[in-house]
């Protein structure tokens, strides 16, 4: 019987400590003890993960994919291809080819060339039963990465960086529930918000203008934040799968299938430098001083 009492005491203590941690974490602000502890542990564990990843990955690749058994030169070639593919996608995503140059100016594509992108590999991926979507990449503050930077790959927008250590960075994926991106329909410029739905292959898009035209197969691009953080402009997000128009609602919404295949992320790029501000055409001449993009950050 005394043993039973001891077992119950241990259970009670462990549960209480857990809940105390929860409450401290919820109530504490940035820089508090627990956040510092987490940052410190990430500093230690991320390099360890990277080390284990580097040991384990070639073995895994050997069995899964021969083309992955490559050296740095091939990775550089992949990156070049990724770059070309991305620019190509931006140029060809409009259905009206003849207006391409006109739209390019509108969508800031001309400015995209001067974005500087840091390549990175995905080290760790969060489990799917976590009800949150995040990854760790092997580039950090020593590569010029800070929090709230755009992460993309050849297919399109992946997400934005959250916490950063010297050698690694966490990325909140586009499909995470907390994710909200300012987006516009390619070619028409209608504005709205794309937000994650906790689903691996679907996000929700809300159009500000309820009577604006929104069609299946329309393509969404990021509309860009001030100084390109957290989101740079003109990056493909996804394609409209279906449009829902609910009477009485102020906005029109659509389901979007993201271009990025979030289950097979490997090589990504982080936008570390947006183009000079004067290289960017101003979309709305009347509000050029107020920066219409500013309201978009989350």
């Amino acid at each position: 019987m005394r043993d039973n009492g001891r077992v119950r005491a241990v259970l009670a203590v462990l549960l209480l400590v857990s809940l105390t941690l929860t409450i401290i974490d919820i109530r504490s602000s940035e820089g508090a003890l627990l956040k510092t502890l987490r940052a410190t542990s990430a500093n230690v564990l991320a390099p360890l993960q990277e080390g284990v990843f580097n040991v384990v990955n070639p073995i895994r690749d050997f069995f899964t994919n021969y083309s992955e058994l490559v050296n740095a030169r091939q990775r550089a070639r992949e990156l070049e291809a990724q770059n070309v593919e991305l620019q190509e996608k931006l140029k060809t995503s409009d259905d009206a080819r003849r207006r391409a140059s006109e739209l390019d100016a509108l969508l800031d594509i001309a400015a995209l060339g001067s974005y500087r992108v840091v390549p990175a590999r995905v080290i760790a991926i969060g489990p799917k039963q976590d009800f949150s979507w995040s990854i760790t990449i092997d580039a950090g503050s020593s590569d010029g990465i800070t929090s709230n930077m755009t992460v993309l790959n050849g297919q399109g927008l992946i997400g934005r960086t959250s916490s950063v250590t010297p050698d690694s960075a966490n990325v909140v994926l586009l499909i995470d529930k907390s994710s909200r991106v300012g987006a516009r329909i390619s070619g028409r410029g209608e504005l709205g918000f794309a937000s994650g739905e906790d689903l691996p292959d679907e996000i929700q898009f809300e159009l500000f203008d309820p009577i604006a035209n929104l069609e299946v197969n329309d393509i969404l691009l990021t509309w860009g934040s001030e100084d390109g953080q957290p989101f740079a402009a003109g990056i493909p997000i996804g394609r409209v799968v279906s449009v829902q128009s609910k009477p009485g609602l102020l906005t029109k919404s659509a389901r979007i299938s993201p271009f990025v295949n979030f289950s097979s992320l490997d090589l990504v790029g982080v936008v570390i430098e947006s183009p000079r501000t004067d290289a960017r055409p101003v979309i709305s001449p009347t509000t050029s001083n107020q920066e219409p993009q500013a309201e978009q950050s989350e």
Binding site: R6, V10, S18, D25, V56, R60, S132, S168
Partner: protein, 173 residues
């Protein structure tokens, strides 16, 4: 429970916490990610009873909270895993020669864990869609019980290598 045994328990959980986001999340099976950490906690709980189960769950929860890439609210993972480890330890107390009983316990634990986490996430962060949970439950129950076929004998073997302990010993920490 001597110090060496505790070290082995902690080390095995640490390895699982490091390997899970690197290897297992990349497997891309439909539905949930195979949860090696949970299976390991269950295996220790079945082998060594509720106190070891709850402690293993607590340690695993803290390590998960501190390991990238996830940045959950601290303590919620350990809260759920302490409960799981404790209950599995109680269920495993009855010595059983059955092959399927431990697998059923692990499958049950995985289902409870996902529901607990969905509830805790809904309370502390944002509501979780029911369709997501139901999809995860089914796949996770299958994956974890399959993984338990290998992990439970491994932990039992490891435990035996470390020498005998009486049941009373285990309860006395």
């Amino acid at each position: 429970m001597n110090l060496l045994r505790w070290l082995v328990v902690i080390l095995s959980i640490f390895i699982a916490v490091i390997l899970q986001p690197i290897l297992l999340t990349r497997l891309n099976f439909p539905g949930a990610t195979v949860d090696l950490i949970l299976v390991l906690i269950c295996a220790w709980a079945i082998a060594k009873g509720p106190i070891v189960g709850a402690s293993a769950g607590f340690i695993a929860g803290l390590l998960i909270d501190l390991t990238p890439p996830t940045e959950p609210i601290m303590g919620l993972n350990s809260f759920a895993l302490v409960l799981i480890g404790f209950v599995v330890g109680l269920l495993g107390v009855k010595p059983s020669k059955s092959f399927f009983r431990p697998l059923l316990i692990v499958a049950f634990a995985s289902v409870v864990l996902i529901m607990l986490k969905a509830a805790l996430t809904s309370i502390f962060e944002s509501p979780v869609a029911f369709s997501r949970v139901s999809e995860l439950l089914f796949t996770q129950a299958i994956y974890t019980s399959l993984l338990a076929v290998f992990v439970i004998p491994l932990v039992t073997w490891l435990d035996r290598k470390l020498g005998p302990t009486s049941r009373a010993d285990e309860l006395r920490l």
